[in-house]
Structure formats: structure tokens, C-alpha cells
Amino acid sequence: MSLGGSETAKKPYVSIDDLYRKSTQFQMWSFTKSALEETKKKANENGTKVAKQRLLNEYNNLKESNRTLFEQYPQELNIDTIFDPLTFEEEQKYLHFYCEKIITTADFFNMATQVKATAMSFFKKFYLVNSVMEYHPKNILYTCLFLAAKLEYYFISIESYCKILPKTEPKDILDLEFIVLLSLKFTLLVYHPFRPLYGFFLDFQAVLLHPSPLMYDVNVDKLGHLYNQAKEWLNKYAIISYVGFMFTPPQIALAAMYDIDKRITNKYLQRKYLREQLDAIKEEQDEKKGQDEQKHQDEQKHQDEQKDEEVTDDNQSLESQQRTQYETIVRTIVKCIRIAKAETQTSLQESKDIDRKCFFTLNPAKMMNKKIKKLSSGTE
């Protein structure tokens, strides 16, 4: 979020935002909601194609050696009947199930939040490029976690790692390491919202408590509590969802605080962006009004953003520029909260069904042989 100043004027210094915009996270792995959806769909479509080709190879081989059976059962052994790829929705549910598994696995190894969050990011990036119909997520998950532990300075040797993982050999992971790296396009630095959250925790204190407390019931303990709850929020919602691909880490950190305590966070934002413009009574009203309008505004975010730019281009008073910026921030974090919390739960049974389906798309020979065996035993 730029400060809305004139773009032609030479900037006196490089801001943190400028640096972030140059990061690979922003340049290569940040999307609008629709572009992200599109990317996921494409991965699913590609995976479907690959799975179909894989099946076709098996199918043609088996057709050659089981000619009579195939003639006997044209319906049952029709390739289009047999081919049952994961739909887009199924693939997303399946991935979500494995995302939760990353957390339980990382927790099992007592890995730091940083490792967990980075592994999660690697895993999701991998499946923006590939499909579960190309690579089964189980070993990809383990590889991502192993790689993240290496890169976030919590190295664990491959032997002790595999010793604890069920039915996993070092080779299963090491063979995939390079493939994961390739899919990540060798971009390995991930920015998470935890550090910005800590920064906000400090700045909340500076803004709301000094020189004298702004809110009668807010003290350092209260803010500390807010900080801890926001951290939990990030662990619970932000890490597992795709908000990291759509919002900047500070936006996500603010979203966490806003969702935990809207009143305090709003006060902070107003203080920060609207300065002394508002008196207490007006703020109360705005807060109420803001709540009702936010939903509505979200839908129009895109148009609004464009409008915002036009407006700031005009010679507008500083006051209304600040107002615009404040509103944009609130709108952005509210949207972030909604997306973070919208992630669906996948039941165990559901994932088992999808898992079966996935197994067969990855191993068409097994599925075909099973089918053929069943059909030929039926004829006897």
C-alpha cells in the first residue's frame, strides 16, 4: 500500500514496501483471488491430461493381451467409463487434508512455527504447478517439510526423519527434493506474518499507550493477550489457507488482530491513518457504519481500487487521502479474514474416498488388472 503520494516525484528512500515488491514472493507467488483459482484449475486440468495418458498406455497394453475380454465388455472396459480423475473440488479437498497433515507432522517433530509455515507454503506452491494426479501428496508433504527444516535452520537428518515417518525410506524423499525445488522455481525465501505481527504488537503499544493510554481499558497486558491470540489465529487460519498468496504478511498480521479485537485494532488504524481528525464520538459511528458496509464494499473492491487511484490523482486534501487509505486497509483485511476462515473442512471418509481415486489415477495398471480379474472371473 503506497502512501498515495505522487508517483513522479523521486522517492527519498527505498521503503520496506518497495523491497517487498521486489521479493520473489510478491513477484512470482502473489495472485488475485481469481488468478489463483485459475492457476489451481490449470494444475488440475494438466494433471487430468497426464493421468489420462498414463491410463491410456496401460489400457492399450492390456487391450492387446485381453482382446476377447475387451470385446465382451465394451461398456465396462470403455476407456471413458474407466477414467475417473479427481475433479477440481476433490483435488482441493484432498490438498486441504494434507495441509492439515503438515501441521500434525511438524508438531510431532516439535518443529518451529517457521518451519511449519514454510513447508506449508512449499507444499501449496508445488500443487499450483503440479497435480496430485502426477505426484502423490504424501511424499511431497514429507519432502516439503524436510526441505523447510533445512532452510529454516532446524535441520534433521534424513535417517532420524524417516525412522519416525510411517513407511518412508530416505530415497522416497531425497528423490523428490530436486523435483520440489524445480517446482518452487528455486525461490525459497518465504515471508510469514509472524514477524510483522510482533512489529504491530510493539507499535500498538507505542500508539495506544504512549504518552498516555488512549482507551480506558487497554493496557500492556491486554495488548499482550491480543498478540498471543492473534498468533494462535495465524496458526489456525492463515497458515493453512491461501491468504499468503493474496495478501502481504503485514496485511495478514493486521487481519489476525482485527478479527481478535476489532475495537482496539480499529482504534489503532484510525489513530495511525486519520490522526487527530476524529473525535471519539465520530469514531464510534464510523466503526458501526464500517461494519455494515464492509461486506458490501468487498464485492466492489476492484472497482473501488481503480476509483481510489483516480481520486488520489486529483489534488485532494490530505484528509480525504488518509480516509481513503484507511478504508482501503480495513477493506483489505476484512477480505483477508473472510478468505482465511472460508477454508473447508474435509472429513476423513471423504479423503479416504478421494485417496482411493487418487491412487488409481496414479497406478492405472493396478486398477485395470483388478477390473479385468473381476470381469474374467465373472465369465467363468
Partner: protein
């Protein structure tokens, strides 16, 4: 699972030639080559794989991790990364020389303006690393590479680390011994970008002396050498220093007087000495940061830093060009 194993779409290795093997380290072989479509000279660092039982080498991965994000005229450029049959290849810009080579070439004279120019470029590169919250953790003359146009580039990010999380322990076993800050020598588990500032301070001294400033023979000797030159830290000048794990004050040396430093660094101006003292403060919290260093009067007083393209190069027989009007004669500064 064979689809992505061979990246056949745009075979990246065919974009470069590997002409000459120029070096072999513990985890990599370095080749010189050319980027075909630009004719640009490049260096390819081929990371040995399969050698490590734990998969891809950590230093190589970290180097990729940080160099992908650090784009700056004074940081080595990672041109490309590609893989060939499970081999990791880093394509880096070609940098034919480094500061260590120049320091050791006793027939090359350093002007005060040359030293200033190198130090300035080092700080510019380091400032960029530090504002991205990345510590280099292995600064030494050997890792300050020099481009054909004279630009200095910070290289080798295999030990680098981002300061991403709070309260986590860091390894104090970083930085080549002679350039290791006192808090690291004392085994500090929490430290800051000030460790890099210390290293640059020692490099600054070495550029002036033309010999290593604090050449400890081993880790214990390093403490002795360091404190002999700069005084033994006490609670008074460095609060809480005695709480560090390996703190000891076996031999208490007094801090050096200004005159003693002047005698040691004969050619240094007062401003140069001020900056060096500020970089080599024993207490890390008293050391200057990169912004303060870059704004230091040393850089604005005469002589102005030498234009990079006129800096000494590693060609002993070639006469150095002097284009700066205000430069004095080239001489060894010692």
C-alpha cells in the same frame, strides 16, 4: 513419477557453455562459461549432489534462497539456477578477482581513495542485505569479489541467515575466525547485524595495514589477539558481557589509546579512524550500523572515493590509470 524429472521444455543448460574448470570446493565445482545469447561471461557453480546423505547441500540451498532475493549492484548476481539430472547449477556473474588477492599483491599500491571506494561499495551491498534482514555471517576479503568494471560484490551466502523469527537461537560458530566479532567468540546465541559490521571493520583495518589485523591462531588465541588490539571487554564498557557462555577475562588488556591506534594506522585520517573505531566497538550495541556508516564524514571528506573503474586491478604489470585530480601518489598504506 517421471514427468518432471527431465525438464525438456527449455533445456536451460544449453543456454550456457561450461568452458573451463576453475575451482573445486567441498560442495561445488566452479566453471567459467558464457551465456550464449548475450555472450556474457558467467561462472557456473555446480553443486555436487549424491555426496551428501541428507540430500541437497544446505549451504547451496541457502545461497540460492538469499541470492534470489538480493538484487543489488554490490551483491553478486545470481543469473540463473537450473538442474541437470539431479545436479544443482548456480549461474553467477563472472567476477575475476577478490580483495584478498589484491591485498596480498604487494606490488599494487592502495590509495586512501581506493580503500574508501571499496569500503563504500561493501557498505552499500551490506546495507541492502541488512535492510532485507539478512546477515551475511562470513565477510572477509576473500568474499568481496571484484568485477572487471571495478565494482565490488559481496559473495558467498552459504552461511547467511535471515532474521525472520524471534527468540530463536543462532549458531555462534559462524564467520571465519579472524573476522569474528567478540560476541561470537564468547558464544553468544543471540546476535545482530553488528557481527557483519565488525567483520567489515577488520577488513577496513586490513586494507590499510595490508596484513590481517587480528590473525588468531585458534579460537582461544583469537580472543587474546582481539583484546590485545582493542582492549578486554569489561562490564563497564559492555554491560552483561560476563553472562555470555564463553566469557573469560584471563588477561585484561587496557583499551588502546587514540595515539596507539594512530601509530598503528599511520595513514588513516581522523575520520577514517573514527569510523573504524565505531565499527570495532566491543559492545555490539555500540557499533555503528550500515546507515550510520554510509553517512559517516569519512566518506564525504577528501579524497573522494576512487571511481570503481579506476581502482587497482590484479594485473601487476599494467600501470594504473589516475584520473582523479585530487589523488595523491599511490603508496602502500602502512
Amino acid at each position: 513419477m517421471t514427468e518432471a524429472e527431465t525438464d525438456t521444455e527449455n533445456v536451460p543448460q544449453s543456454k550456457y557453455t561450461k568452458d573451463k574448470k576453475v575451482g573445486e570446493g567441498t560442495y561445488a565445482v566452479v566453471y567459467l562459461g558464457v551465456q550464449k545469447h548475450t555472450k556474457r561471461k558467467i561462472a557456473i557453480k555446480e553443486i555436487k549432489t549424491g555426496l551428501f546423505k541428507d540430500g541437497l547441500d544446505m549451504s547451496a540451498l541457502r545461497e540460492v534462497k538469499y541470492l534470489q532475493e538480493l538484487r543489488h549492484p554490490n551483491v553478486i548476481e545470481l543469473v540463473d539456477v537450473f538442474g541437470t539430472s539431479n545436479n544443482l547449477n548456480l549461474v553467477l556473474e563472472f567476477l575475476p578477482c577478490d580483495l584478498e588477492v589484491l591485498i596480498k599483491s604487494k606490488d599494487i599500491m592502495f590509495l586512501a581513495a581506493d580503500i574508501k571506494s571499496w569500503l563504500l561499495m561493501t557498505f552499500r551491498g551490506l546495507h541492502h542485505c541488512h535492510r532485507m534482514s539478512i546477515l551475511h555471517r562470513d565477510l572477509k576479503p576473500n568474499n568481496l569479489l571484484l568485477a572487471p568494471d571495478g565494482q565490488l560484490k559481496i559473495a558467498d551466502f552459504g552461511l547467511a541467515r535471515g532474521l525472520g523469527n524471534l527468540n530463536e537461537d543462532l549458531s555462534s560458530n559462524v564467520v571465519t575466525r579472524w573476522y569474528r566479532a567478540p560476541e561470537l567468540l564468547f558464544g553468544a546465541k543471540h546476535y545482530t547485524a553488528a557481527i557483519d559490521i565488525w567483520s567489515v571493520g577488520i577488513i577496513f583495518a586490513e586494507l590499510m595495514l595490508r596484513i590481517p589485523y587480528l590473525p588468531g591462531k585458534d579460537d582461544v588465541d583469537q580472543l587474546d589477539v582481539t583484546f590485545k588490539a582493542l582492549g578486554t571487554p569489561t562490564e563497564q564498557i559492555w554491560p552483561n558481557v560476563s553472562n555470555l557462555p564463553l566469557y573469560n577475562s584471563l588477561r585484561v588488556y587496557p583499551p588502546p589509546s587514540r595515539q596507539e591506534l594512530r601509530n598503528r594506522f599511520i595513514a588513516a585520517t581522523d575520520k577514517a579512524l573514527d569510523l573504524m573505531i565505531s565499527m570495532t566497538q566491543l559492545d555490539p550495541s555500540r557499533r555503528c550500523n550500515t546507515s550510520q556508516a554510509l553517512l559517516h564524514e569519512y566518506f564525504t571528506e577528501l579524497p573522494s572515493p576512487t571511481d570503481p573503474k579506476n581502482l587497482p586491478k590484479n594485473k601487476p604489470n599494467e600501470p594504473t590509470v589516475e584520473s582523479n585530480g585530487n589523488t595523491t601518489k599511490r603508496r602502500k598504506v602502512e
